[in-house]
Amino acid sequence: MKINISRQNIYLLALSILLLIFVFVFAFGLLIPEGKEYRTKRADLKKENVELRKYENFRDDVLEKLTELKSDNRHIIAAFDTSFDTQRFEKMHRTYFNSLTVQAMQNMDNQGKFSVYEVNTTSQINSPKSFYDFLDAVNKSDWIIGINFPINFKREAEMIRSSFTMKVYGIAKDTNTTDSNVSE
């Protein structure tokens, strides 16, 4: 049996096969690997997105904690940030004493992140009650002040002369600049 195929049909068949081979090579050589890469990258991106969301949620939690802490300790934070002013201190606490003299000492000590400023105080009081009221008021003042030993009480006629040193705590300058950069 003789199969009669024209020459034109043979060309047509050859071209079809060539084009088909090209399609297969292109599909398997480039398209499918690229598709696989696409899927891998999409999965990676999804993973990164989940991770980022976790970080953002944690950041929001921590920020909320910071805001809460800041609002709870507003007075303390402001007190540490305020630099000590002897005249203002005298003006604020003069009511507890008959006379009050505050003298800033030059030496300033650093305790880690905090600076400590020593102040000499001499005063005259009517009764120890005034001193107790002063100690209560110091805890609510605009600065963090610790009354330091030695404390001296000496009777002078009807008055008591008291002399003591106070430690005023503040923030060491380098710490202040780095920590205040946090924005809400």
């Binding site: 034109q8 047509l12 071209l15 079809s16 084009l19 399609v23 292109f26 599909a27 480039l30 398209l31 690229e34 890469e37 696409y38 990258k41 999409r42 990676d44 991106l45 990164e48 997105n49 991770e51 980022l52 970080y55 953002e56 950041r59 921590v62 904690k65 910071l66 802490l69 800041k70 300790n73 303390i76 934070i77 007190a79 540490f80 880690g112 992140k113 905090f114 120890p128 001193f131 107790y132 100690l135 209560d136 110091v138 805890n139 963090i144 002040i145 610790g146 009354i147 030993f149 030695p150 404390i151 001296n152 009480f153 009777r155 430690k167 705590y169 710490t175 920590d179 950069n181 946090v182």
Partner: protein, 192 residues
């Protein structure tokens, strides 16, 4: 000489079969290239997005570090201020206790509060009143108590009372107390 009565048709290279073949493969190849271009573009976008996300994550991480540092710092401020406030309150109570300790018959002229001691200067009608009414309570508080007297012009006695707390002894007492508490707890557990 003519062999046919009809006019011969023009033969073209693009036969209808070939045209069909080109259209078919043309559409196929176009779709393949479009898909490939789409994938390449998406890959590029994914890479860019991933880099952006990594950058954002690093920024968020830095932000978290800063916030945590700030929290730690505020907590340190809180701790220090609480320490200072507590010391002031304790000091107030100590001074109050000291003045309450002095009986009405004894008059103080000077009091020095030291970190580990107390020095009192004053005047007393006689030694017995001083010994029973002031020295006895002072002895119960301080580890070492020294007193010296010298006569005043009105026949009374001026005194200087120096009192110290030994820190080592205080620590020893605290440790002893803690140990006793632990023993007590153990006994309770044993009984259970």
């Amino acid at each position: 000489m003519k062999y046919s009565y009809i006019k011969p048709r023009n033969k073209s290279l693009l036969t209808p079969e070939l045209q069909l073949l080109f259209v078919f493969f043309g559409i196929t190849i176009f779709m393949l290239f479009t898909t490939y271009a789409f994938l390449l573009f998406k890959d590029y976008r994914f890479t860019q997005d991933r880099l952006d996300i990594i950058e954002q994550r690093e920024e968020t991480s830095d932000e978290i570090d800063l916030i945590e540092n700030r929290i730690t710092f505020i907590k340190e401020e809180q701790r220090l201020s609480e320490d200072v406030f507590t010391k002031n309150t304790v000091l107030k109570d100590s001074i109050s206790n000291m003045f309450d300790l002095v009986p009405q018959r004894i008059t103080l002229s000077e009091a020095k509060l030291l970190e580990n001691g107390l020095v009192l200067y004053g005047i007393t009608p006689n030694k017995d009143i001083y010994n029973f009414m002031l020295q006895a309570p002072l002895r119960s508080i301080f580890h070492r108590t020294y007193s010296s007297f010298y006569p005043a012009q009105n026949g009374w006695l001026r005194f200087v009372s120096t009192n110290y707390i030994d820190k080592e002894e205080e620590m020893f007492e605290e440790v002893k107390k803690d140990t006793q508490d632990e023993d007590y707890d153990e006994e309770i557990e044993y009984e259970d």
